[in-house]
Subunit: 338 residues, 4 copies
Amino acid sequence: MIIVMKPSAKPADIQQVIARVEQFGLKVHISEGEAHTVIGVVGDTQSLDQRNFEVLDGVERTVRISQPFKVASREFREGDTVIDVNGVKIGGRGIVIMAGPCSVESRSQILEAAHIVKEAGAHILRGGAYKPRTSPYSFQGLGEEGLKLLAEAREATGLPIITEVMGASEVPLVCEYADILQIGARNMQNYRLLQAVGKVQKPVFLKRGMSSTIQDLLMSAEYILSGGNYNVILCERGIRTFETYTRNTFDINAIPALKQLSHLPVIGDPSHGTGKWDLIAPIAKACLAAGADGLMIEVHPRPEEAWSDGAQSLKPSRFERLMSELRALAEFLGRPMS
Amino acid sequence: MIIVMKPSAKPADIQQVIARVEQFGLKVHISEGEAHTVIGVVGDTQSLDQRNFEVLDGVERTVRISQPFKVASREFREGDTVIDVNGVKIGGRGIVIMAGPCSVESRSQILEAAHIVKEAGAHILRGGAYKPRTSPYSFQGLGEEGLKLLAEAREATGLPIITEVMGASEVPLVCEYADILQIGARNMQNYRLLQAVGKVQKPVFLKRGMSSTIQDLLMSAEYILSGGNYNVILCERGIRTFETYTRNTFDINAIPALKQLSHLPVIGDPSHGTGKWDLIAPIAKACLAAGADGLMIEVHPRPEEAWSDGAQSLKPSRFERLMSELRALAEFLGRPMS
Amino acid sequence: MIIVMKPSAKPADIQQVIARVEQFGLKVHISEGEAHTVIGVVGDTQSLDQRNFEVLDGVERTVRISQPFKVASREFREGDTVIDVNGVKIGGRGIVIMAGPCSVESRSQILEAAHIVKEAGAHILRGGAYKPRTSPYSFQGLGEEGLKLLAEAREATGLPIITEVMGASEVPLVCEYADILQIGARNMQNYRLLQAVGKVQKPVFLKRGMSSTIQDLLMSAEYILSGGNYNVILCERGIRTFETYTRNTFDINAIPALKQLSHLPVIGDPSHGTGKWDLIAPIAKACLAAGADGLMIEVHPRPEEAWSDGAQSLKPSRFERLMSELRALAEFLGRPMS
Amino acid sequence: MIIVMKPSAKPADIQQVIARVEQFGLKVHISEGEAHTVIGVVGDTQSLDQRNFEVLDGVERTVRISQPFKVASREFREGDTVIDVNGVKIGGRGIVIMAGPCSVESRSQILEAAHIVKEAGAHILRGGAYKPRTSPYSFQGLGEEGLKLLAEAREATGLPIITEVMGASEVPLVCEYADILQIGARNMQNYRLLQAVGKVQKPVFLKRGMSSTIQDLLMSAEYILSGGNYNVILCERGIRTFETYTRNTFDINAIPALKQLSHLPVIGDPSHGTGKWDLIAPIAKACLAAGADGLMIEVHPRPEEAWSDGAQSLKPSRFERLMSELRALAEFLGRPMS
């Protein structure tokens, strides 16, 4: 961390900053510039709140030098983290596709969806039993009944299942059924939930919050990792910007950036990232070209009858066509799908 | 809700949309424009997910006409909601000031802070016992011990206390101590928590999420209200934008906008809204001039020693001066402080 | 400027950075941290492009320490800049109000508007003769005819006039008529235009671009100032964010921030900052409370017949009422209107 | 266009809206909803400013139904626009690569750069002679001398050249040298410049402004097209968001969205879109996968000595490697490079 003093800072101000730094058992390194004195803080500053120094007299601002995440960082671990989910390897050489409906709506719907995505070549079945909805009056998911139907769909197809968990107290129940726990974008900084999934060993699929920076996402991963669960999968699903033509702005830069900064697998979600079914295919391909380890795609047997997110779900024939294009692209990129 | 058809939409597409609308027991009203056919949906569309219609063939987009919130809306309730907290009226004629440190750090610190803000004229004491921190390695709050110290500070000063609750399972415990439950910005769409505080009768102070629209904030309020707890206080605390000079961009427009759209009290938080102690005073005054019902301000006996948010906390002498200016301004505006 | 090396940087990388810095006649100051070596660059780095150093091997990133603006900065000038426009002092003790229609539409319209705002107490008349419109098919302004009508309105009322100039080649013509040249938000980084108005001595009213940071605005002011025209007035008029309820998000923080960083006068524009006539009054008051030196407000004799921006224009009776409230508030704040 | 009335609107308000619509020679179509009356406006509303209706009593808001751009739209033109620049076809089957340094710095630099990009397989040479710089103290380009050097590089390599024009008065001069005129992001809404390039027949490369929506970009294209110059190339180069790890957020969604909405060619600029040389390759590939017609990439013989944008320029060996990867990818995608 460095502390930039104002041009008007007095020697006594600098002394006060030094004294404060030393109270934390850290050392300083002082550099006098043309206008500004810059105080470097040497030592382990990980748990320091840099903004606390900004209130001292004569301080203009502070700048963090080290990344605030440790276990999530590339430096922490040699090689990429590969997570094995019932034989499906996420983060390894091959591309992994997670697909299925936004919500579990009925036994026949989820079974039909599971067979469709399985036959098209997807590796993991998605489906929401607990749905975070903006409106309290919207369908909130089938709850445990939905989890049971997902488990039945897994039985029928052999596909591992991923489903969202919305609260810390639901973690044990969802763990009984799911192969991967999903944390939704709105809960990315629900720290009680992050702490709860940090204490189990199920893989966690962590979606980037819609106004979260890349660093924020990695800090939320750090909560889970530092709790002892090392099976974290990162997901870019679009951020909120001024653009309104699409539901979100898919931050394609985040894919290679996350791969540079972290050893964790990175998945792209073009359904949420665009909000429009007819933009899913080009963005799905862009994700693979940019280095994503896989994709999450919403597919519904009849999107026009979906209870949620129909607008960003593919119908079966379009998903099949997309899968055959993605299979060829993955092969071309040297990351063949199993 | 209206459904805008593409210029290329065929009669069969329009028929399909009509059929789909009628399945929900709603009626249509068709308007043929130069290029676009527009289908108006008549009836109660509150629980309808408009985006589901966007997947139908020939549909270009949908536009919601009615506000999706009901109980939170101005139309729902004649007059402003006034919430009485141990005699302090929030949302009434007088301006209300909530002040105190970011975190409860020790007995002496919170007691000292409580006396300082009380003597300066604040009406409610704030202080965090459970702290949502970006880093798992930062101070996470004193927990129940912090709640007890807050209660002791209330005893000593007579000030009601407001403190944050981070998870649904902590609601009963926090209710035992707090007079107002605070939901932080990161938890604004933590629906399990909203549901939990909707079932108690303690006033809830709901902070706007940093990437939440005004409508999103009112929808989160709607979760609490529709659960049966009508004591909701809204808080504007700044949103995330491209500007980096300040920690957040304080959305001053939101204050009169929320007062127009809703009957709920609206509080401004210039500490988080700026992130800089030397911008708190002008933004605090701007909030009152724009029609806020009160303010939440971070104050610490010695900000340079604060464990969190020192950079955006006022020291006692500055808070006293600000309070005397705010008192005069409130008086001028016809909203005198008690 | 400081240069942060990667943890993996080699001694040769550090040597290369030092050599590169020294080529610019600057000195280095090296500080070894736990993980990162930090190289401080000492000397006049104003004209240096910091990003050029980011391409050197082993460099993680660079951080600018000094503000990149000079003449616009508080440090440059003792006291506030006060600009005298035909006797109206902008940036001095008193609050200044600029008001009038978005566009000059006809002789009778602008004369009527001028008399209305004059009688209500405004100090300067605004009106657009050249209109930057998003659509090439929209009304583009009356051009020189509009300038002549503005001059006639000045004659009739004695009010100085402010009007927009859109291109460098139009500067001489607009200078013949206008008392203040307005640079619109979309042209804030039109450097040819900034250079052109930097060479005349007419006061320039520089509106913040809708995605410009506070620093960007001051850098654009610096273009004008460094050209030799010291009569620059800054205007906050809202920025573009994800919020759609209002046309722009008025960045109230920018008002005290600009007053801290610069000696130039700062004006708020609540018409553009909200886009809604019924939000103008509360935001206008908030601007004064936050320390603005004045306001620009759109007023039209009959907003419902305006050719542009009717939605954010006040009708005469509402403007009169607002002016009487603002006069009292300015008085209260110790900044009486003349 | 539709006009949504407030629930509280009176019959007289509705009558006033109808009368106002009819003044423009348009018809209305009225639809009574549960709470809101919705007035559809039928006829050519292209030149109508929808916001003018928002000031009428009882109006809640207005919604535009038709796209405000005409000539730029898919509906206007059967098939894609293909622009032939000295034999290089932009917007056709094959992918086109534009490459070269940010600025022309010297004769040897631009000639060396031209040979490097030519040999690596690029089709068009880029280089700035007039540079829009945030700081008036930064290098502003070599001006006409730079244009001459670019022409010499074209002579030497046969590559057509693209260079930026910053002001309307410079258009004739730049036209003498350049094969394609570039409009930079900061000038995307400099309407005088758009009008000037609309009157010549040189192809125009229009970069999206950093806070411009997809619709804004198409409206700026419309300015040029409606002026009579049909040779417009659109460029996505990243938008400004809250993310700070990258210089801009590359809006990959915009690529397929623009191809859907318009017949104009779409080029991606991963140098500006990321600001980091080590993210250029993955984003360049993502652009092709998403359907871009080509790329603009900054390449410098020695980026560590570049006078501008070194951080986002590739060095020759990296560019060569990237070109060979892009060539294979373009081939795979059925869009081979010539």
